[in-house]
Symmetry: C2
Subunit: 228 residues, 2 copies
């Protein structure tokens, strides 16, 4: 009877240790958040690129990713840290790579993919507040430029979860403007210049209601070049 | 009777002119080939970026697009002319933008998306031959580097139409090597360095069997930096 109980306890202990070990392995595999394969391709590239003094970082999602910023401004200190599809938690997760270089400036635009996934304007702005706090903490001399989320245009149908978010984008931008005053960070209103009277992304600057054509990048440049 | 025939002819003429006009309009709208919206975003950006003397062009699809080449090599003359999803006809269609700058060098890698769509190795190489011919014609002093198509890895399943093309990729590369000798263009074998003994993309350099992580871009750099 005692022997049986001992053997039961041994068996239980063995099973527990097996379960624990499998669970640890599963956690080991799951140690990275579930961002896209493209996210990790870009992040792993950013991680191995050399940091240079005085970097100017363009940080954001596909709209930043699609730009050729150093060429556009004729300034080789500018680096592209855009990742197509990125969201505010994605920026937070890779922010160490950005601040490690102690960049002179960061131009941030993020949030439309969060909204497309149904995240609230409040959560988006909360995460952007944390992004600013963390940049300030880890690289205090970096000048931060907080760019508005661009308008979208529901007349286009490819990105239907994005282009119906005009109301939420307006709300995020109103809160970002406040956040800028509160944190003494320069807020840059791109929304007004890119939108029609209805508040939609002007089709002169986009062929899909979300992303920019060359003419759009030229407009962006004309608005922010005084800050470079 | 005569009146009826005249009215019939008038009606016929009217219908023909309507049909012709509608068809012209349709053709007018269809005047650009049916590449992706992303293709036209990138192309329209490339078209407005300033040309600079001595440009070194990295020309290709997503694998080129995903790189930050100027940063990787610490050389601000390098420009990224990659378009995710691009195929050989896409490169041909936008080649004027590349040659207009009279670049000092062009590093070309293209073809895996053509193969994924079922295009034959023969057609891919025929189009690459035309790309070389057109660069030579429009910018004779440009040094062309013809890079092999990279291996793929069928153990990954995201890009299933790409990663099962090992045989066709080998065939394209064998033909590109010949084409290089024939045209006196430097052929660069990246395939061997990136592949396992089985000829598959080494998972040390990729997280999806098709695209590269940072470690992959570092390997690429180590192979070609002597040509920059």
């Amino acid at each position: 009877m005692v022997l049986k109980r001992v053997s039961q306890m041994l068996f239980l202990g063995l099973m527990l240790s097996v379960v624990f070990s499998v669970s640890s392995q599963a956690q080991g595999k799951k140690s990275e958040p579930d961002f896209s394969t493209y996210y990790y391709q870009r992040k792993s590239l950013f991680d191995v690129l050399p940091d240079r003094p005085g970097e100017i970082v363009f940080l954001g999602n596909s709209i930043t990713d699609g730009g050729e910023w150093a060429e556009l401004f004729g300034n080789s200190k500018i680096v592209n840290r855009g990742i197509s599809g990125d969201i505010t938690p994605g920026v937070l997760y890779r922010l160490g790579e950005v601040t490690r270089a102690k960049p002179s400036k960061v131009f941030l635009m993020i949030g439309v993919n969060d909204l497309a996934r149904g995240v609230s304007p409040d959560s988006v702005v909360t995460n952007i507040r944390t992004i600013i706090t963390n940049i300030r903490r880890d690289s205090p001399s970096t000048q931060i430029y907080l760019q508005s989320v661009l308008p979208v245009n529901p007349a286009f149908t490819i990105f239907k979860n994005h282009v119906n978010k005009t109301g939420q984008i307006r709300e995020v931008n109103a809160r970002l403007k406040k956040l800028g005053s509160e944190k003494q960070v320069m807020y840059i209103d791109l929304f007004s210049s890119f939108s029609t009277a209805d508040g939609y992304l002007n089709p002169d600057y986009s062929n899909d209601g979300l992303h920019l054509t060359g003419k759009g990048y030229l407009l962006w440049k004309s608005i922010i070049e005084k800050f470079l």
